[in-house]
Symmetry: C2
Subunit: 266 residues, 2 copies
């Protein structure tokens, strides 16, 4: 059973304005719900079909919030998805603008990423490559957008996503931490010096990196492309998430190799 007020409030969480006001978001589906409830993330309430509740006794033992059994029709009224999937969790958002200390390791910076699927995929990629935090421009799509949560495949649980002025962030730290920008006209990724601590800046899907940020880049890097067998050149660009994955994979490979080198020379 769910009240009209609850339906209204949960539907307000479908939008950024509602999430900002209520400081909560929704996550849907058995897989994400199970990971979220097991993760220790602060959760307010679970709405689920009776069948899902019965099928998850172990989760029911660890849940420390109310669990409401609702029917499929009610789930449809609060879900943000065209095909609601058994369970919807209302959880607490993290502050978007935390105090930022000097970042270490690989730090991802997203300049105006607008597609929710791209952001979710990038969060999943960051999670795979052990990148623990992402700094987004204020106009990047919201991490708590239901489509982002969905496409991140639970990786939002492990990767912190901050929103801030990228100009301020980079101006503050760029003397200590080099900035790599993925650009079409950059130098070959594989021939560029890599540093252990770094910022990797990825631009908007169609406009690329903002003109105001370009002067702050130390290394413009490009993923080499290859002509087809007949000599014809191919795609003009790669999708933002694809570029992120290839560059992160290479940063990790190189740092593995140099640490192997350290060991063998020791």
């Amino acid at each position: 059973m769910i009240t009209k007020n609850e339906i209204r409030r949960i539907r307000s969480l479908h939008n950024r304005k509602g999430r900002d006001e209520e400081q909560h978001f929704i996550a849907e589906g058995p897989k994400i719900a199970a990971e979220l409830l097991s993760s220790g993330w602060p959760v307010e309430k679970v709405f689920a079909l009776e069948s899902w509740i019965r099928a998850n006794p172990a989760l029911m033992r660890i849940v420390n919030c109310p669990v409401d059994a609702i029917n499929g029709n009610e789930l449809g009224r609060i879900s943000a998805h065209p095909t609601p999937n058994q369970v919807l969790v209302v959880a607490k958002t993290f502050p978007r603008h935390p105090e930022i200390e000097k970042p270490e390791g690989i730090n991802l910076i997203l300049d105006s990423i607008s597609d929710p699927g791209n952001l979710g995929t990038i969060v999943r990629i960051a999670d795979w490559f052990g990148v623990g935090q992402i700094f987004c421009s204020e106009d990047t799509v919201d991490i708590y957008n239901p489509k982002v949560i969905q496409s991140s495949m639970s990786s939002f649980l492990r990767v912190r996503v901050h929103y801030c002025s990228l100009l301020e962030l980079l101006s503050k730290f760029r003397d200590e931490i080099p900035v790599y920008g993925a650009t079409i006209g950059g130098q070959n990724l594989y021939e560029t010096e890599k540093c252990p601590d770094l910022f990797l800046l990825i631009g908007n899907e169609s406009r690329g990196i903002s003109p105001g940020l370009k002067p702050l880049i130390h290394y413009n890097i490009k993923i080499p492309s290859y002509p087809h067998a007949g000599g014809q050149s191919g795609a003009e660009s790669l999708n933002a998430a694809i570029a992120t994955s290839v560059v992160l994979a290479e940063f990790r490979r190189e740092s593995d190799q140099s640490s192997l080198g350290d060991k063998s020379s020791a």
Copy 2:
């Protein structure tokens, strides 16, 4: 002006059955239309807003098919997109089942990729890395699906996509051409021997590579993942398109390096 029969026929091309019967597909939007019309691809007809026609005199000179001026309302009735974009081209499909000669270079094999956005993105990645042909299982989403065409960003013009029995294909050629399979439990991508001619097999988004194909793989490869700073492990898997991009980038990097090695030792 567009007739009711034309509207009915074009709407039938929104679905695979219609495309198979009519052997035509639709491509929409100014960017894809311009590339398609300049590419020499066989085109049947262009439907466009008067404003788009006036803005593209150079294209109008090279087009060798009828161009119909229609209004926004008519475009909405034939478009497969929620927000129709100025122009829709009806073009000829290539045969799905060509005679297959012995493949050379890097050949991508897609086993049951179901998401149109993933297939389109993979075609774009193949195009970037100069991979000229992709073999898909019969149940892989159709290359001429409007969402695939859209997300391939014109790369479908340069990458041939064949549909066939992957079991037959691999059984026929695997003695001559090694098969690499992207799997969670494989060996480190970076420590695996690479061959100049190869098949790269990518599995379904959730089920991975079919059990029937697994015995045909010579090298099971895995993209290494990395724990977070606190030691916590991250994402369970990477999206199929992401995995494709990282593996193709590495195959290309390695072959570049070995050809550099050849040159320096010559």
